[in-house]
Subunit: 665 residues, 3 copies
Amino acid sequence: MKVPFGGDYNPEQWPEDVWKDDYRLFDAARIDTVTLGVFTWTLTQPAPDVYDFSTLDRVVAKAEAEGRNVCLATGTGAHPAWLARAHPEVTRVDFEGRKHRYGARHNSCPSSPVFRRLSTEVARRIAQRYAGNPAIVAWHVGNEYGGACYCDLCAAGFRDWLRQRYETLDGLNAAWYTTFWSHTFTDWDEIEPPSALTEHWRGPDHTAFQGITLDYLRFMSDAMLANYLDEKAAIRESDPTTPVTTNLMGMFRGIDYHRWASHLDFVSWDNYPPDDTSQARMALTHDLMRGLKDGQPFWLMEQTPSVTACRDVNPLKRPGVMRLWSWQAVAHGADAVLFFQMRASRGASEKYHGAVIGHSGRSDTRVFGEVAALGAELERLGAATLGARTPARVALLFDWDSWWALELSDGPSRLVRYQQVVLAYHRALWDAGVGVDVVAVTADLSRYDVVVAPALHMLKGDLARRLEEVAARGGSVVTTFLSGRVDEDDNAFLMDVPGPLGALMGVRVDEWDARDQEFVNPVRLGDQTVESRLLFELVIPQGAEVVGTYQADFYAGTPAVTRNAFGAGHGWYVAAGLDQAGVSWVLRQVLDRHELYGPYPEVPDLETAVRVAPDGTRLLFLLNHNAEPVSLTARFDGVDLLTGTTVQSGQMLHMEARGVMVVRQ
Amino acid sequence: MKVPFGGDYNPEQWPEDVWKDDYRLFDAARIDTVTLGVFTWTLTQPAPDVYDFSTLDRVVAKAEAEGRNVCLATGTGAHPAWLARAHPEVTRVDFEGRKHRYGARHNSCPSSPVFRRLSTEVARRIAQRYAGNPAIVAWHVGNEYGGACYCDLCAAGFRDWLRQRYETLDGLNAAWYTTFWSHTFTDWDEIEPPSALTEHWRGPDHTAFQGITLDYLRFMSDAMLANYLDEKAAIRESDPTTPVTTNLMGMFRGIDYHRWASHLDFVSWDNYPPDDTSQARMALTHDLMRGLKDGQPFWLMEQTPSVTACRDVNPLKRPGVMRLWSWQAVAHGADAVLFFQMRASRGASEKYHGAVIGHSGRSDTRVFGEVAALGAELERLGAATLGARTPARVALLFDWDSWWALELSDGPSRLVRYQQVVLAYHRALWDAGVGVDVVAVTADLSRYDVVVAPALHMLKGDLARRLEEVAARGGSVVTTFLSGRVDEDDNAFLMDVPGPLGALMGVRVDEWDARDQEFVNPVRLGDQTVESRLLFELVIPQGAEVVGTYQADFYAGTPAVTRNAFGAGHGWYVAAGLDQAGVSWVLRQVLDRHELYGPYPEVPDLETAVRVAPDGTRLLFLLNHNAEPVSLTARFDGVDLLTGTTVQSGQMLHMEARGVMVVRQ
Amino acid sequence: MKVPFGGDYNPEQWPEDVWKDDYRLFDAARIDTVTLGVFTWTLTQPAPDVYDFSTLDRVVAKAEAEGRNVCLATGTGAHPAWLARAHPEVTRVDFEGRKHRYGARHNSCPSSPVFRRLSTEVARRIAQRYAGNPAIVAWHVGNEYGGACYCDLCAAGFRDWLRQRYETLDGLNAAWYTTFWSHTFTDWDEIEPPSALTEHWRGPDHTAFQGITLDYLRFMSDAMLANYLDEKAAIRESDPTTPVTTNLMGMFRGIDYHRWASHLDFVSWDNYPPDDTSQARMALTHDLMRGLKDGQPFWLMEQTPSVTACRDVNPLKRPGVMRLWSWQAVAHGADAVLFFQMRASRGASEKYHGAVIGHSGRSDTRVFGEVAALGAELERLGAATLGARTPARVALLFDWDSWWALELSDGPSRLVRYQQVVLAYHRALWDAGVGVDVVAVTADLSRYDVVVAPALHMLKGDLARRLEEVAARGGSVVTTFLSGRVDEDDNAFLMDVPGPLGALMGVRVDEWDARDQEFVNPVRLGDQTVESRLLFELVIPQGAEVVGTYQADFYAGTPAVTRNAFGAGHGWYVAAGLDQAGVSWVLRQVLDRHELYGPYPEVPDLETAVRVAPDGTRLLFLLNHNAEPVSLTARFDGVDLLTGTTVQSGQMLHMEARGVMVVRQ
């Protein structure tokens, strides 16, 4: 038992004599796991009534014979050309109203009956054929679900979904506030998907009716989930136990993964950070992915060993970075480390995407060498991390509905972006070395001392009460500007801002200013002054203590940050778009109170994280994201599992640039 | 009798018990006027054959019972969903050729017979029902007409319009210069709306045939006017006297308001300046709106009390700004001060748009307080300003045809924007405190000493002769680069530039240079040097005196500004894109000659304006747009109507930041 | 015999009495050649069954009577409105999938049978009518072919073209690498044009399948060539000898002019440089156009005498620039100097495009004066340059396939642009005053000492072997990063980078980094340090000598430039995006070895070029592109044909700003 290591492998693109070379190189790199068949629909079903598994049979048999674990895909991430020609309704209509023809991938209308029937059937047949093969450790359904369709089949599906949700048109009209602009619907069939042809202007974020667009996002997330569930059910007909998953995409706005999580047997995701200074962002994303299923370990299903291909500029991962980021994934809960891809394709749009084996088939490249070295390390680690959990006393709430509602909103500011706000608050915790669970708003909050809820625009269900309970029992709750504004239907609360959070926060907000990125209002926090930007709420304390004040403009001297005593705990309200220093200052006040810090909160970009194995063993990860070495005094005892070195508290540690330690404490 | 105060009110969005709160708060703020029913088509006609006025009856009855004046809308600014489903031809085809489905607002094809029939019918029935109600002081047709349609119905309408205009295809071909690029039309039905599918590239400003696009703009303006006239006629069937209007949008490029003006019983417009340093721009726009109907007072139909919602960044009006801008409107001729909106909607795209009453229903907010204070001031003012005219000896010509022709033109520069040129010339006059009428090129010019015609690209009818008359009798005419270039069909004059203006200006222009924003050619004017940018005409004087010269490039030393003696007056030609200092220098030479200045031309951003009441009383408005107080020596005697204070010439005046005085002289 | 001088002339836009004025002015300017009838389809065929040559008869007869040479166009660059109405299939479907309606120009679907039939017929009739007219010196087919169509007729044409190319679907699937993303085509009819509706995202450069898009570019180039050939064949029915051409557009990405060249009797092109500092770019483009037909002289078919109209900002050609650029064209091989246009049109999108005769019809303008002066100079020159060749020992390879493949590629960088790379290498040669042939990769390389192949992404046929032969016999071959990557189908070579160029270059490249424009890696070259940007390949020498090294990042100290001894010559590999100084340093090393320099390599922007007349006379052109005079010591003997002055080596020469000398040596 060890961390599965390997990744996407497409031998069907190559003559079989290349396969032998591949496995020889896999051996050299300790690659034990391959994901097979991700885009094989046409290969396995070359015509409407023809299924042909001969190639896939050989591919799977070879992997089995070579003793690899197999993650077997259903191959439905792109439909066949013949299908689009025979049934044009399987292709999508885009946001602009354009009916697509055959091409690209992730190109199927999720509502198309023929697509649903045939994709289910191909999954069924693959499961029938390969279920029971002992090499298969997981089923991989579709690929990176995403995109949206606006065709008439989806319109009909949307109307059905709405009937389920609202039951009556009166309910729907109330939820969507259709009296505004004379939008009252008098028949379900009058409802159109919100697109550039109907409610939208200037693209997908600008809609006349936020409620309609919000529901379409929810519907589309559910429609794609139905596609996944179709195939999962077909697999389950033949294989009741092997786990089924699909590869998610981290902070992907298009799908509410919280609606999906319970249907995934384990979470897996593809990590393609936007640039090479993404360590904090990746930490957040790992925490989010782990939080989908209540802390259960996940798979890192894809990462590049070297470069991506789809960006305008595709920088190379510096030496050591791939290893460092792989260990970061493990530190945050990954129980597998996989790459896209094993061998670089010769043609089409990913031929320059990095691969373990490049076009020349060499094993003496830097990249292959680093992969092989990591393979050896993971072998050395063995089962130590498998199934380990990540203890956390801090929760950060992440909510797709709030993300959508905030970014669809007309006013106060299009410049306030949900991810950036969340990133700043998570980063402050990450810098402090605190374990954080990034969880849905429906999560059980009773186990946390601190709950951070940045930009919680939409407040659903009993969340306000549950947050009050956190504070009441002595915890700290932190929220920000633009929180508590709307209900589940995106209708404003008919009460003072921040709505149902008002009692906990002890403030009232009547007005707010939005300004361009260039405008700064300094905020005084303790003995330092930080900058705030973009959004400035004017706070009228209703019992809260003023912690920070604006220093400029007509509201100079009024509160920018407040803390409200609530029961045995506190409600913190951050009314302004503080810079990172400001956010960190606020959160360190909170962490101080709860004495929650990692061992090196003062060392920049030295990440620390803890996992606790099923047997209770505590593993401390130290990850030096700096391009320079760092010297530390050990603040722990243990054994570095990567080197076998014993560490004693108080001794000097030298971590090389991008160095990693995994200390069994 | 006093200035109507209030605005858009949508009680149909709320339960009736909220209405009571509303009127209580209206009382507190002296709100006496409400605009009702702006988006009520579906409410009043929920199905093809069903009209239901029950809600609107209660809304109007409540307003009447509460003693408010009512501006009653026909509610046709957005059509019902059922209408779009029953008659898909009512929705528009956009510039990209996309047929829209139901959604948003301002969404009706103006040429659609069913839209025209049903919108007229709903207006007819509303007028039948409510005409004679003494509360009703005005009818409000549609809402913010705008946008364009490119459907086949509009294509047919365009061809009819063209037949009216040109009578023969020969006439049309000559006007459109169709021998160019083999475009000769041999049948009316060959003519298509100019769009991304036909003549355009890179959007609405880039057309292969300026003449076609220009005529389509004129046609579309007329097609929407026909919609307005449909409804107005239907109202007049029941109510022959109550004034009818629609809310215009200031400097809105899509509609030539000069073609509309005679059909509005009074002008009303919605003032949403792009940012909080828009005082000069608003002054121009007020002057333009007042000029539509020859100086007749207008209504400020909408403004926000606090924030907008539709911009990327929606800044808050600082304390005092809403009051200051309201008084600025009155100073420029407004006889009503109205807001959008009375109570904030809960949902959809305007839920964050500012309102007198916010989501919490409070009256103890800053915004409500400022509204109520203004209400009290307006009450104090009483009837003093009603019907007052704004005397002016300076006219600035504003011409939609020139705007369109200039910005549609291929060459010389897409960076020269009509509004910016006009703004610079108006601002120079505004800085000097001079009253300006912004008028159509067809206006009677005989009453003006100075006529400023910036960027008068198109020269129509006898305008050149009428401008010569201004100069001949001792007046001053000022024009600029890119004036006098094309005739009514956008065909170049076959003569020296500036075409028919050549005799008056005494110059000839053979060539011109265009450069990027970064390039500056200094221009020497008297003893100062200013900057010029973007466009540089090379002037060969034909009798004119050289006033300013270029200082750089191969044409250094040649004229950039000239003055030509013509009869007893002058023709001024500004050949370069002067900066504001340069434009102001030129116009102050002109004002010096005619001794036209306000009392404080040397105080920045202290606006002064004069209205003369029907009884001859002269009212001097002082508006301090600065965020700081200013101290002045009074250069007038009178009584400040807002405070009752007597002012004597020579005394010190202290005006607070954003302060206002209304002095009866 | 002399250089034809004149240009596009559209008398059909004017009454005939204007024609007299025109010829009077043509006389004054020595205009001896007019291009007639470029957009006359509707004029000559006003209805399906009506041909009417009465106007064109008069136009041609007048030109003949006035003793001008005529370049007679077929007039098919824009189809008639009646044709689009009668046969909607003649208009294009654009990349976005939008079916266009009638409008603009260059608007015909190249695959439309009715367009092909009728355009051929109009060309046939024109040739029948005017062939044999002694005034006619050339036939001008269509106009500036370009743009693309994606309609179903083109889809069918594409499939036919693919059948020709690949014969079997297996061949096509292999070439397009369709196993990737399950794209295997099982029927020709499944293939769609690659567009925004099929394979593309984010516009024409972003495709899922590079191979499909590449083939569509090739197909579209061929489809338009077929249109040209249709008309040429129709002309040849009546006129077997008079040369036939069409006006090309220089470095125009949309058409592979190398596929067209053999079908043009001579090359002609339209020179509209993007700005007024384009001398080096124009030199490259002239060399490219001359290289299309193996060095045969070409016509400068269009240039503006003063300004363009279609750009956002249309700067004026400074005094002397039009003359200087005209002589530059002659220096690079032009045997005609023609303008667009003779008289400015009154209306539509080119009314502000510069013309020899402006709207006022004057001859006393600066522009007319410069045109007339040039006319006199060309008369003085007589036949001296006609038919002269441009000797060159340096070849620069230009390859549309590499251009397309590089810019369609996903990864490594969208910022690397083919033209910019080529420009830098050509400029280094141009700065040195070296004659360069810009040739296709299929050109005979045996006559060159130096072959420069920048960004030769695609390596086709036996090119690698032919480049090796250049080096083997003592020549120098220079190539760069991103060369030798893919084969003719855009599939990666399964070998070390730079693929088949590896032996010649003596290097191996396993990885490469791409960075934003801001990032600089200094490169040490000899005793200087230059900058490199965007793309950084990591080179492992396989025998090559290291010439330059990176100075930063983890690969500091590794090779950025190498030179490999190969036979008696060298292979140079430039692995990084060097700045101009770096590129020039490298190429001057190469030129040093071959002793290839013009007379003034050290004088910036003093261009020198040589043509050798059919009788062996050597003509040295000196072109001072500086806006200041330069003083030189003559390094040659001869007579300046423009002034008759004798020059002796060693004497001082004074060249005025933008001055020109044409020295017969």
